[in-house]
Symmetry: C2
Subunit: 407 residues, 2 copies
């Protein structure tokens, strides 16, 4: 047998073993960027992480001890696919209290991060070549998850109030899309939030169509100021699929999120979830439930908002102080990201190289656009992980790099 084992396969032979769908997934450009940004001298606005100094470590430790003592065996056995019922009931209750919307626990499926919700939705709803309406710029994780099911992406550009209504309306005249993916609060990467007016116009446009809005809201609780506008779910409950996450309000390492969907869709999502991983880690489901019922997580979230809000203020102040006046930027009302638009003729990729030489990093806008768009003068800045002083120094360095560009 050994003589054959040592024959190396040609590239073509190796490609032939793969499914076509896997060749369509965009490479994570951000991963490569993060490798460059890892040096300790670099001030990095490139990441997309919550600030780990704010993790409720001691509270989670106490909760873990408590559930081991109370129910050691139950929390370690195989469990049901839908997820831990008391946790689903608590999520439903929080929707009612915090957003005034009615969601049944039976329509909530606990997922391994909200990323898995995207995978399950793609599996359940997307045939090859079918259209998905997306935001541009848009969340890369959603593009990756949906790509595997080979849809046709129909991007709609964002403005400061959400999707461009004129473009969406034009698209819908001929589109048979079944899914429309949105991050309506403090969008990743742009930091913008949909205005109440835009939400209502979008709801009116899609109402009664065979089209579901995916309302992905990982940052919704990280609002620094102003009132939260009505959710798509409150406007169109039967045509809205909600994605939620504990990654930004508790910790991301547990990979715990959820999806809310109408019953006929939920039935299929559960089949797909069972085939994907049987169920989400039941130990950390119960751990999160124990934590939420024994500690004041709302106070914890308020503390996160205070810190991130101050860091956003520091970033905005520094941009105003140092950036040339023809550089545009968003002022997010929450979340973790701010979006910068360089003047015509500038390239954020060129800026990236200059910035790294000055020990400051960010994510150029390119990966957030689908192919073929030449709109390459944007960049994403993260403000959750750098304190106010570091942010100020980093933005000053970045301003120096911008001024170095010759056009």
């Amino acid at each position: 047998m050994n003589d054959l084992k040592n024959k190396s396969k040609t590239h073509d032979e190796e490609q032939a073993i793969f499914a076509d769908r896997i060749t369509d997934v965009p490479r994570s450009f951000i991963r490569e960027i993060l490798k460059v940004a890892i040096s300790p001298e670099v001030i990095s606005f490139a990441g997309g992480l919550p600030n780990r100094d704010l993790f409720p470590v001691e509270e989670l430790k106490q909760s873990a001890i408590s559930i081991f003592d109370k129910a050691g065996k139950e929390i370690l056995q195989y469990s049901n696919t839908e997820g831990y019922m008391p946790l689903r009931e608590l999520i439903a209750k929080q929707y009612l209290i915090k957003q005034g919307i009615n969601v049944s626990p039976d329509n909530i499926l606990i997922t391994s991060g909200s990323q898995q919700g995207l995978d399950l939705l793609g599996k359940t709803m997307l045939n090859e070549g079918e259209e998905v309406i997306i935001e541009e710029p848009g969340y890369l994780g959603a593009l990756q998850a949906f790509s595997l099911f080979r849809p046709k992406f129909c991007p709609v550009p964002l403005n400061n109030e959400g999707m461009n209504i004129g473009e969406l309306s034009f698209l819908l005249k001929k589109s048979l899309a079944k899914l429309m993916y949105t991050v309506p609060e403090f969008q990743n990467p742009s930091g913008i939030s949909y205005s109440e007016h835009t939400r209502k116009e979008i709801a009116a446009l899609i109402e009664g169509r065979q089209l579901y809005i995916v309302e992905d809201n990982p940052y919704i609780e990280l609002r620094f100021n102003n009132k939260r506008p009505a959710s798509f779910y409150s406007l169109l409950p039967k045509q809205t699929i909600l994605l939620g996450s504990f990654s930004k309000t508790i910790v991301p390492g547990f990979r715990m999120g959820w999806i809310v969907a109408p019953t006929h869709i939920m039935d299929k999502l559960i089949v797909a979830k069972q085939a994907a991983d049987l169920h989400t880690n039941i130990f950390t489901q119960q751990l999160v439930y124990e934590y939420l019922t024994h500690f004041d997580n709302d106070a914890h979230i308020k503390h996160i908002c205070d810190v991130y809000g101050r860091q956003r203020d520091a970033m905005v102040r520094a941009i105003n102080d140092f950036f040339p006046k023809n550089v545009g930027f968003t002022i997010p009302e929450g979340g973790m990201f701010l979006w910068v638009t360089l003047p015509e003729g500038y390239s954020s990729m060129e800026l990236f190289d200059l910035a790294i030489k000055r020990n400051v990093a960010f994510v150029p806008g390119n990966p957030f656009y689908t192919d073929g768009k030449p709109y390459y003068r944007t960049l994403r800045l993260n403000f959750s992980c750098s304190d106010e002083k570091t942010t100020y120094v980093g933005i000053e360095r970045l301003a120096g790099a911008i001024k170095e560009i010759k056009i």
Copy 2:
């Protein structure tokens, strides 16, 4: 808006929103069975669970406290897609010590249960209509996971030594299958293990083809006696993909497993894993590592084998004592299941109804076969969860039900 909201959709309209793939997934018949078997009077051999009385609760609690104290923030942040490197190194080391095979940690991806390994393999390798060779009867979870990618299943019947070599050889004459799925040790549902002879014949048949054996071994450490035969990986390392799991040797609730694949396949699996859930729960990855490096899990596994081995003995003894002599059954050398074949003309579905009336449950063989097979006189008995006395009583009841069947 409200008038439209209240219009109910027709069945056809509702079906139109789903992807074709989701309609192909077999419903979990076993789920329905387990609902019937849940009453406390019923002695159930229907489940597929490890015995929760053997979970190392206290050791896992101590390990959790220890990692919170040592590295509270790191274990809770987002992590890399591939998995926790020290854990992957430990898995590689165990392969060398326990199975004498060389696996690089770079070729190990930590998955959310080995079920996720099946999903990722399907995503990465199966185009619609492509062939997958499977065992018959076969593991339902694999059928479900692969079904979503709409392959053509090519079943090969099992005998007491593994796949029927004649049938496999005939199939391979015309097959272009890229994947062949096997559970070579204490197979679910049949309990049989592949003999060394069969393994070598299979390896010789597929060597040099564009075909990968999936060697799914969740039960490999649960061997009660005799020597472990050479793994497919040791015979054909470049054409074998290994699936492993902590569900049967530590606990299933953490949903933690792994997949080992050649580098060119691993690269694609990592892309698919990132799109599926970014990474597996890093907290429980580190918890399992802490447990494995601070407690004697080999002694723990030996204890599990002692208990399951005694329970298997009790089941075999009771079958010999009570079943009619024309009922066939396997005597597994490990694992959790034993397979019964009723005489010609008997129906295990009919037996199920009679058995439930006598307060004993099992899983009829039907769901373990792909469609169209009339081979409906088999059943699966689980021996991991019932102590020796209960097993003896349950088998006596089942024997009574068998004798009641009129043919």
